[in-house]
Amino acid sequence: MTNQSNKTLNSNIKNLVNQPYKYGFSTNIEKEEFEKGLNENVIRLISKKKNEPQFLLDFRLKAYKKWKEMECPEWAQLKFLESNYQDIIYYSVPKSKKKLNSLDEVDPEILKTFEKLGISLTEQKRLTNVAVDAVFDSVSIATTFKEELAEYGVIFSSISEAVHEYPDLIEKYLGTVVPIGDNYFTALNSAVFTDGSFCYIPKGVKCPLDLSTYFRINDQNSGQFERTLIIAEENSQVSYLEGCTAPQYDENQLHAAVVELVALENANIKYSTVQNWYSGDSKGNGGIFNFVTKRGLCVGKNSKISWTQVETGSSITWKYPSCILIGDNSQGEFYSVALTNNYQQTDTGTKMIHVGKNTRSQIVSKGISSGNSKNTYRGFVNINRKAVGSRNYSQCDSLLIGNSSNANTFPFISVQNSTGKIEHEASTSKIGEEQIFYFLQRGISLEKAVGLIISGFCKDVFTELPLEFSVEADKLLSLKLEGSIG
């Protein structure tokens, strides 16, 4: 006698997607830290420590002043206790004995960490065609391929370095796409950011390599406030890859990054992200709070900015990579896969603001929710009065696993002239028991079945990722789904 209903597929699927976080480890390295908390002195200290020019200190102080007057936004479909901003260490640098000239001088512990993540810099350097600017906690520790890039006039460095070497570019562009007071988190970031990446692609240059940064939060109490600025001059082209993993901790960690992209005439920027910050345990304890502001400005005619993101981590994600299409005939794209599990909450989407004539935008969003998670798409498409002949196509699909997850779609569309064309498609589906049974009956394991359904669901987005990232994304999703059955 047996009770077959005991081995219900639903609980099997749950086990499958509830794999413990694999990258949960921290590295023991010496580090230099500030006291906890935020005040004007801390900001002056950060600026001084980094030997920054006056304009940047002013920028920070102005931002801090704004931030103090602002309040944490509450409109998102997110529930959380606000971070205690006085309990965060705003500056932390891995201690190094001297200035690093090559990878050999990097703390072997740090290199080991990267190796555990499968991102051995040495291997990357030798085998791949990807330049890596590794951000470990707040300061860049290694930059590769810099010389090769320099031949093309491409600048790819940490933003702190760029502040010293190219202060004019920084002063000209920093905060122009995402103003200091844009929102609560950009104000905070503008006040306390310690590092990030800077890319500059000169006129007419097609960047010979995909530029890539791996981020990693290592310090238990130090929130990361990354700042990225990419400028693509006329007729230039660049593909930028960003990937994140973080070690496992019980405490919530705050991450409030700002990314600004500027595309001038005929320039093309492709920005791809795979995000796998620690998402908390199965009961919803811990995990990263990820409040990111990413925005691209298509200033020039015929320019194009394309965002592709695969969001699988963080306990809370609040992120809307957007495009402001100012130049005539400019194009914006947003391709997104967001996977949530357990008690994860994700509120993500995009804004496409059409200002120039004949501007086009495309949105493809795929949300996968399982466990007790909440997955929200929030989008805003605006076709301005002057944006004659502009078009938008949006597609928002949600896939539910199990009975306790939640998927929401909030598309806002505002068309202010009669020549605009808008298309919106949305669907919600569920991985049903009958679907799974069909796979099983054909001898395909539960694990492979779910994997196949999910990669099929995400196909439209994965094809937009650069090849090496596409493989990584596929690996990441199956990693999240791999494990014991039953």
Partner: protein, 252 residues
């Protein structure tokens, strides 16, 4: 003849869903080389039987045994049963958006190979194998790039089921109303596929409402189910009698 080699033996099988007993002391023996047809009114438990044989998790077997090739399979997972050679052609094949037929069939085929300790085939090798099988069910190769059952006509779905049976080369195949909703041409194609597939080492259970499939695929036995039990067993001629007299005739 393999007359005495038993493939499947169902003994005193009782099963229920949500506390409702659907199978009530069902007995059935199927030998190698035999085709059995199961007929009966709607709700008599035919489809339930097919799903229980395949290990569907929503049904609870409360007593009895299912002996397949000498082994009680009641505690085996659906995919394990599949690997042992049990195949169920679904009455309503499921649509799987985003997954191409080719990927699905390829994965299914390789899972089967792996389970019997053979090395997996490459996609190119598989293409050669599947192309041959496609011809049998008269399906165009373009169908491989379409998503599993998505937007398929009723006939295409049923042919796809038969195609999968051919590919997996199952030993015990249970075809649940594979003939329903087919036009006469499609019925002939499917019947033809079944006839070519059948041999002395296999067994087939056909669940059907209509005699017409049985005209093309002649069963060794016909069983009539009612209220979760087999109430009558006869030879192929029983179908004619049922066609003329209806199930009422069997009322006791």
């Amino acid at each position: 003849m393999n007359k005495n080699i038993t493939m499947l033996e169902i003994k005193n099988l009782k099963a229920s869903i949500n506390e409702n007993e659907i199978l009530k002391n069902l007995d059935l023996t199927v030998n190698k080389g035999e085709i059995h047809a199961i007929m009966g009114t709607n709700g008599s438990g035919k489809s339930t039987l097919s799903k229980i044989l395949a290990g569907h998790p929503t049904y609870t077997v409360t007593s009895g045994e299912i002996i397949y090739e000498g082994k009680n399979i009641i505690n085996l997972e659906p995919e394990e049963r599949s690997h042992l050679g049990i195949f169920l052609a679904f009455q309503y094949p499921i649509e799987i958006p985003g997954v191409s037929n080719e990927d699905f069939l390829y994965l299914s085929y390789n899972s089967k190979l792996k389970s019997i300790g053979k090395s997996e085939v490459s996609p190119l090798e598989f293409l050669a194998i599947i192309t041959e099988k496609l011809k049998i069910v008269e399906m165009s190769p373009t169908f491989l790039s379409r998503n599993v059952n998505e937007g398929f006509s009723g006939g295409e779905k049923k042919r796809n089921e038969i195609l999968q049976m051919l590919i997996l080369d199952s030993k015990l195949s249970i075809l649940d109303e594979t003939d329903s909703g087919l036009d006469i041409d499609a019925l002939k194609i499917i019947a033809n596929g079944i006839r070519n597939f059948m041999n002395k080492d296999k067994a087939i259970i056909l669940i059907t409402h209509y005699k017409r499939l049985l005209d093309y695929v002649r069963p060794n036995f016909i069983h009539v189910m009612r209220d979760g039990k087999i109430i009558k067993t006869g030879t192929a001629d029983l179908a004619n009698e049922l066609e003329q007299k209806g199930y009422e005739w069997l009322e006791v």
